[in-house]
Symmetry: C2
């Protein structure tokens, strides 16, 4: 806790000053801003403390629930932020931070973000956003075209049409997924001669009117957790999110999908939406989109593709084939704050049919009047910032071939890392990279041999011990602050679907080098071998099995 | 369209540069950023063209759906943004832009925003946000305490508890309202011995289990349009959002509320939530919160207060009495991007009972593991930015007494403007300000007299003509770009609830002066009197009536 004891005065004149007079160039805040603008990575390396401080300790700095009764000077507060917040934040853009879907960002986005925030537009309506409204519609059009590849006439007809919407810009993929399935639900239970639509009469009446015993959404067992929230909030219930089996590459099994659909229909449960995953969160695998599309069409289901992560792959002509059939989806989620390298807060959902979003259209008297082009009439959110500007600028400054290079290098790097892991005698690759994600774990060479000859009980025991080790190493590595990988639990086919804890790596950051990847493995090896009793137990059991 | 023809090269080396090398101090982007940082108002005055360009014209600059195949230089693109986007954006922070809930923002928020965006934390989990997580929990604690005024022991017990949450930070008030009613719905239809809860089994099963014929949410007819979306998305249906009558000050009628509740119960419809409005969007009025709270308690309903606008009033000890009884609410929505003077994208919902949000708790394997303090386990959204930092800083730099001054001056200014309007013979105040909102219209002095003596038909006719005039003046004033008021349609008691189009004014900007208010009236008078045929018709009918 720093110099919070000095207080500024409270008068209307001093308040007016903070609304009219910028920080002096020499002020603490200006200096920090300048340093960070000059070299972000250096700034963060300098200010984020390497060794992790326990959360309980950090919480002490953020424990006061009373709103301060005296103002502090901006400079003092800035120093306070540096000492308590920035120093214990996460260096998400570090090339060695390869555990989550964050990356270094293009530099030009920082000043552009400041301009965007200074303009403080509200995209809910034209009166508070003007040119930002057609800009956002264009960005949605660009993403729509990237997916659906309609012709010019299509976009000149629909992109700026007051009564239509090609999609919605959202705060993130969760809102995008909810929006897609909200539209799907309302279109599945729409108005008839004797029924006023689920949007007006609600689900209970809708079910009685349509005579269904239940509704269902189908998605593979690797679907994102936001889909559970979606089923919950939409009133369908999480039990109605039907989990379809996956093959050894975490891709949806068509056979099981067919079986689940026929079981549902037998029970008079209407499967109104099927979801394809294009880039599973944990391993980056892509469902057989074209085949799912065919089944959805046959069954009259809304087909949604959750491409929050993998959607950016469409930018690469070399790899867009991985998402073959995506143009058949009724809707697609893409997160620009993932592999389109935009700061946090930029999700999108796109709809193939410009009429689809009419299912959730809404109006109000003081804004969103009928016939207006206000974006707010087709969004789940209300007031929204001008984030679309950052996507627009990146599309122009990086351009499609630039994004192609970024995507290609990330996939190449993942393949390289997979090879590197395979070359080690004491690491085990768990999931092969399809996009730039892969999972693996540390298994001492001898233990790997033991696993081959162990009986079932021994296998389970070893697995449990290795799970403990992976957990320990991941935590220790994070705490030491040199590099970061995440961890998750998978059920690999090769290990008879036993719960297997793995390191999870996302290689989106273009600044991550081969040397860094090597040193991540070195560090994990070292931590493993210094893990004391954990490793001792593993070695003991290994010797027992191999004896 | 500007210099978009020059193209940069596409190579991995040039791409790496945009991730590692900042804009040179002399670059176009740096210069623009510097100018904007030095004097935002001047920058915007200089770059936003005064005269409005028709939207159709602007759209031409945003009509290309193809993602560019060649990159452009940052400087060229910056110039392009200035010419096509910034020039036709809305000067939402101008002191004469008094039509919507935007205002000038404190200067220190601009560099802080840049720091926040550069840190690019993801608040969904601790692994990508670390100290930002306790910071956000503290901010929620501060707002909770502002509303509920619990003691220190309460906050030290709950604020950082892994299994609890005092609320959620959201992208805006709409998500906050949806979150509140999602919690309310799930708690109203929770699990029993023979039922697994609406979150798992869905609404159809829930209704059958509980034996209700329907559900209902009650709110005054001045409730925000986001509540319709809420009823729609939650599967309750918009028809089940029951509209309660308001008195002449747009406040909910307790008598009608009681009647509506008894009608619902008679039909076996469960009213599970009642909403109090604390600051109606159109006129800034506040429902009788304490009385609604008592009824909600008696009926076992969740009581939600939508204080998206009015919540900031709690900062003023002089005016917090206007929200008397708010501490009895089960949940409250507050938008920090409204009268807490934070940039767009900062809504919050607070829950009185730290256990309430358990109704929507969710977990996943790779994040949000049980026992973790990851914020994502209690939010509707997934990945989220570190916006809470801006609220935190403003609380410290402005402090409560600073906010008190800001709130007080806005209410004083609205009262002054109301008096000013009342002093004019040719303006009619439609709604008195309770907070800093008011509505009015232009009515020529003679026409005002005519309205007093007109018969019903004539009154209706005059009203229609005046509506046309108000609409015309509002549009014309916006197009001329000197000042901006919004418009809406009200049904004032004094005019027998006839549809009445009015100017709507929000006086949150501390830089708005009395001179500006005077000139807004002058301009409206002038536009009215130069409106040609519109004014001629009004004059003609006026003379006919007074003859």
């Amino acid at each position: 806790m720093v110099t919070e004891n000095k207080t500024a005065d409270v008068s209307f004149e001093s308040l007016l000053r903070i609304f009219t007079i910028p920080e002096a160039p020499g002020s603490a805040l200006s200096r920090i801003e300048a340093k960070l603008s000059q070299n972000l990575n250096e700034f963060l390396r300098e200010h984020i403390v390497a060794e992790e401080k326990p959360l309980r300790e950090i919480e002490k700095d953020f424990s006061e629930a009373a709103i301060p009764e005296s103002p502090v000077f901006v400079s003092d507060h800035t120093q306070h932020l540096l000492d308590t917040l920035v120093s214990h934040s996460v260096h998400t853009s570090a090339p060695s931070f390869i555990g989550h879907m964050t990356s270094a960002l293009p530099y030009f986005l920082m000043p552009l973000s400041k301009i965007m925030i200074a303009l403080n537009q509200n995209l809910v309506k034209i009166e508070t956003s003007k040119a930002f409204t057609p800009l956002e519609r264009q960005v949605l059009g660009m993403l729509h075209r990237l997916i659906y590849q309609q012709d010019e006439a299509f976009y000149s007809k629909w992109m700026h049409s007051a009564k239509h919407s090609l999609g919605a810009f959202c705060s993130g993929g969760t809102i995008a997924n909810i929006t897609a399935l909200w539209v799907a639900r309302n279109n599945a239970l729409k108005a008839t001669d004797s029924f006023n639509g689920v949007e007006n009469e609600g689900l209970y009446s809708a079910m009685k009117h349509y005579g269904y015993e239940g509704l269902a959404i189908l998605v593979s067992d690797r679907g994102h957790y936001s889909l559970k929230k979606t089923a919950n909030i939409l009133g369908i219930g999480q039990d109605s999110l039907i989990s379809v089996k996956t093959d050894k590459n975490s891709r949806l099994c068509i056979h099981d999908l067919e079986e689940k659909i026929s079981q549902l229909k037998h029970k008079n449960i209407k499967p109104f939406a099927i979801i394809g995953v294009a880039g599973t969160t944990e391993t980056g695998n892509i469902d057989p989109i074209r085949k799912i599309a065919e089944i959805s069409q046959r069954e009259g289901c809304h087909f949604h593709v959750d491409a929050a992560w993998g959607g950016a792959t469409l930018m690469s002509n070399n790899h867009r084939g991985l998402l073959d059939g995506i143009e058949l989806a009724d809707s697609v989620t893409i997160d620009a704050h993932k592999q389109l390298y935009i700061p946090m807060g930029a999700g999108m959902v796109l709809f193939k049919n410009p009429n689809d979003m009419a299912a959730i259209e809404h109006h109000a008297e003081y804004i969103l009047r009928k016939g207006s082009k206000d974006l707010g009439s087709h969004t789940l959110e209300g007031s929204r910032s001008g984030m679309a500007m950052l996507v627009y600028s990146s599309m122009h400054i990086i351009s499609r071939p630039g994004y192609e290079l970024l995507i290609d290098q990330s996939i190449d790097k993942a393949k390289y890392f997979a090879e590197l892991i395979n070359e080690q005698t004491d690491f085990e690759l768990i999931s092969e990279p399809e996009l730039c994600l892969l999972t693996y774990r540390y298994v001492p060479a001898l233990t790997a041999k033991a696993l081959q000859v162990a009986d079932n009980d021994q296998k389970k025991k070893l697995h449990r011990l290795l799970n403990g080790l992976t957990k320990y190493v991941q935590k220790r590595q994070r705490e030491e602050g040199k590099s970061f990988v995440s961890r998750t639990q998978l059920n690999p086919h090769k290990w008879d679907k036993m719960n297997t804890i793995v390191f999870r790596v996302v290689l989106a950051n273009p600044l991550t080098t081969k040397e860094i990847l090597q040193s991540v493995l070195d560090e994990q090896r070292e931590i493993s071998n210094n893990s004391g009793s954990l490793m001792k137990e593993i070695t003991k059991l290994t010797h027992l099995i191999l004896k």
